[in-house]
Symmetry: C2
Subunit: 193 residues, 2 copies
DNA sequence: GGCATCCGTATACATAGGTAAAGAAATCAG
DNA sequence: CTGATTTCTTTACCTATGTATACGGATGCC
């Protein structure tokens, strides 16, 4: 089956009728993004929903001073894209960049969402996905506020054991909300263990 | 119409068929919570979904050391309840406390969610609600990480102009992620303006 | 009115983490 | 291999904010 990973991912959210899948999958087309390429850019309206088949991406926010904050690391398989912009119709404030060579399935969001009317199972998948996104965000909020950088680093290593060795440390520092300097101090301190 | 505010709130998310509303509203019962009362407690499974008709509540997280972090202020009308716990089935880690006398419509979540099967419009409302929750969380994450406490205070005052005068400042400090001491310093500094 | 409690503010000190700059190490291009 | 570039670490110094504590004003109870 083509787009096996996407089909499987949706199915784990909720059972998807074959008739629904027949309408969904033709919307998606495959594209490659080389390491360093941007999937979405800030300032534009998001119009596509993406599914990361292979690779690692980062979603980041860049403030007026040009400083970047790594909001999230996407590791395949998962949905990507400017979700908040898709939902609100406001210009996107998040950028997403390939940290490795990536394969992405991409679909225009308007016809995808239009399928919700005739495919309640697809809308259910979207509901569950949004709920999971919310839960993840809530958990991250508590981690940011309650844990210090050292504990957040420990959690990061547990959660993304493969990532640490494969991406630059300044990206990790940015995800943790500290400078590379501080991450280096933390690493030195915990090196004994 | 009874439960007018709830009906109106749902309708603003997406049109709700009369037949759907006829199944939804009997699930809800009204309850009063006096200032200081808890709506949900940590450590238990959330089983109810609530709708705040009147009043102000705070959602807070309490860590092992007993320190509290005010995650959110609910101002009627809005949904309340241990949303993450309802979704994941994991024990609730958030508490919600009435900051003023409150009126709440409460429904058991299991039969509410069961209506999604026969009422796609209700599932759509739930999807849109979850999406809005996610967008709000994403925005708050960026505020926490990108803004310093002084700017977050300025934002808080813009966003909840009535709240500042009506709740203790230590609750505001906790929402901002600083101590009352620090909020006091910030207030002194910006008093000139 | 008088007392107790709670809350906001102030002060002194401690600490996590930022900034800047430089050196060390690793990676990459030719 | 070699030089250039990028990344990681270290150091010195500085700032924001936490902790602990004390004080004073408000509020409420008797």
């Amino acid at each position: 089956m083509p787009m096996e990973a996407l089909h499987h991912f949706l199915h784990r959210l909720t059972p998807i009728a074959p008739a629904t899948w027949d309408k969904v999958h033709p919307l998606f087309t495959e594209a490659r993004f080389e390491k360093g390429a941007n999937y979405i850019r800030e300032g534009q309206l998001a119009r596509e929903i993406g599914f990361l088949e292979q690779g690692v991406m980062r979603a980041y926010y860049r403030n007026a001073a040009g400083q970047e904050y790594n909001k999230h690391f996407f590791t395949a398989p998962c949905f990507i894209g400017g979700y908040a912009s898709l939902i609100t119709g406001q210009p996107n404030v998040i950028q997403q960049e390939a940290l490795t060579d990536c394969t992405v399935l991409s679909a225009p969001y308007a016809p995808f969402r239009a399928l919700f009317d005739s495919c309640p199972d697809l809308e259910r998948a979207a509901r569950i996905l949004a709920e999971q996104f919310f839960v993840a965000k809530e958990q991250r909020e508590i981690e940011i506020v309650q844990l210090d950088a050292e504990e957040r680093y420990r959690l990061f290593r547990e959660r993304y054991p493969e990532l640490e060795a494969s991406i630059p440390q300044y990206h990790i520092a940015s995800y943790l909300g500290v400078t590379p300097t501080q991450l280096s101090r933390i690493r030195r301190k915990s090196a004994g263990r």
